[in-house]
């Protein structure tokens, strides 16, 4: 237990230093409970970010007065590839979309010709029909980079924001979805 004090103290100081003034979800009692789960468990949970705290407090349904500033914060976090291209190479996007430990997109979305899709998220079947306009590319990129900018507190990972995918990798996934030549758009989607 004693060993936990120092990292926790450091985390708290770090929180203060970065000017976190948002509402916190984890009170002293919940913190003690989480610490009882072991060091690595506690290290991850006690590092809860202010936006994660808001989703926890409101049980994933943000009230109107919180919604505006929340979305604005999320939008600010979005970063773009250095070369400015939001549509990369669909062939590099394919394995990201279809690998459990990378994008894991197929688990929740129908549309992949390689994996049977789930139905937690909306179907993306023949997503490319929407065309490749700049607006479409930007929307698709931003939803993958930080989905909370469009769907606050939804279950989908915030791939760019959470550091799970690099901006260039997200651009490859955008190409996999939008490029008319992509297998995603030319081959039939697998469904259960």
């Amino acid at each position: 237990m004693r060993r936990l004090y120092l990292p926790t103290l450091l985390l708290m100081l770090l929180g203060l230093a970065s000017g976190q003034t948002g509402q916190s979800y984890i009170n002293a009692e919940l913190q003690r409970l989480i610490q009882a789960g072991g060091q690595s468990y506690a290290n991850t949970l006690l590092r809860q970010a202010p936006d994660q705290a808001l989703c926890s407090i409101h049980r994933n349904k943000l009230p109107a007065e919180v919604l505006g500033p929340f979305i604005e914060e999320q939008r600010k976090s979005i970063k773009y590839p250095a070369d400015g291209k939001l549509m990369g190479d669909w062939k590099q996007g394919e394995p990201i979309f279809n690998t459990l430990a990378r994008g894991n997109c197929f688990s929740c979305h129908v549309g992949s010709p390689l994996n049977i899709g789930g139905n937690v998220g909306p179907s993306l079947e023949k997503y490319g029909q929407r065309g490749t306009s700049e607006a479409m590319q930007k929307y698709t990129y931003e939803v993958i980079y930080n989905t909370w900018a469009y769907f606050p507190c939804t279950v989908m990972y915030r791939f760019g924001h959470g550091g799970l995918l690099k901006p260039e990798e997200i651009a490859h996934v955008v190409a996999y979805l939008l490029d008319p030549a992509s297998d995603f758009n030319t081959k039939p989607a697998l469904k259960r």
């Binding site: 009692e29 989480i34 072991g38 690595s40 468990y41 949970l45 994660q52 926890s56 049980r59 959470g162």
Partner: protein, 263 residues
């Protein structure tokens, strides 16, 4: 005209049978029942979970450990040695340890106190087998968990908070799937409805036929975290007991199906 209606009738019947077929494929409970029947036929009437139960019974009744004692005097909440239906009454507060304990942690407590084992030398596989034995004695009994003691009420509250907490690089949280996306699939199984479907928590410990594993609720919770790239809480730790208390309370009134048999 007559032929027309006969055709319509046939079409409607076909549609209904198709719907029924589709539903049969969708329902994981029915699918598990089918698998159970198949396994029973193949093995001549013995389920893998029966073997865990038998192993657990032997571990429970044999004199073992530094104190050379069996676990028969262990109190799971109904008094020493009273084992029937205890799985449906846990987690609960115990005066001797001054802790709220779940099935796993109570077994461990008795292995320490009655048999004299050191906590770190207790084998997980033995605890699971004993849990299966106790589960077999709680089959078809009701879940009656109701937080009444202050310690239970406090831990229930914390368990509920933990259930809704989101954290980590994937913004993970139990409620995000098991409340918001109940019945939807990410992978093979639909998300169970922890808050409204009493079956969700009332079939643990369970045997998983898809990968030949014997799991207690603690293993289920830890796998949920691990599946989303989060470090899991330690076995026997308080976060697991708090979440289990919260979920088992939602299942109050359910008739238990134990040991569970699931995908």
């Amino acid at each position: 005209m007559g032929r027309f209606w006969r055709l319509v009738g046939a079409a409607v019947l076909a549609l209904f049978s198709l719907l029924a077929l589709a539903q049969e494929e969708e329902d994981p409970v029915k699918e598990a029942e089918k698998q159970k029947k198949q396994l029973l036929e193949q093995s001549g009437g013995v389920l893998p979970s029966d073997l865990f139960v038998a192993q657990g019974e032997q571990l429970f009744k044999t004199k073992r450990g530094p104190k050379n004692a069996s676990l028969e005097a262990c109190d799971f909440g109904r008094g020493p040695g009273k084992l029937e239906g205890v799985v449906g009454r846990l987690p609960r507060y115990f005066f001797d340890t001054r802790k709220v304990e779940d099935l796993d942690s109570r077994i461990r407590t008795c292995m320490v106190r009655l048999q004299g084992f050191q906590p770190q030398e207790i084998r997980r596989s033995e605890v699971v087998a004993i849990a299966f034995y106790l589960a077999s004695l709680s089959n078809e009994q009701p879940v009656t968990v109701r937080p009444l003691m202050p310690q239970e009420k406090k831990l229930y509250e914390l368990g509920e908070q933990l259930f809704y907490l989101r954290a980590g690089p994937r913004d993970m949280g139990c409620a995000t799937c098991h409340v918001t996306y109940v019945g939807k699939r990410a992978g093979v199984l639909p998300y169970s409805d922890i808050l409204k479907d009493k079956r969700a928590a009332s079939h643990w410990p369970a045997f998983r036929y898809s990968n030949d594993q014997a799991w207690t609720m603690a293993d289920r919770i830890r796998a949920c975290y691990a599946n989303l790239g989060m470090p899991a809480p330690d076995l026997y730790s308080e976060p697991i007991i708090a979440l289990t208390l919260f979920m088992n309370t939602q299942a109050r009134g359910a008739r238990m199906d134990l040991p569970g048999f699931i995908r």
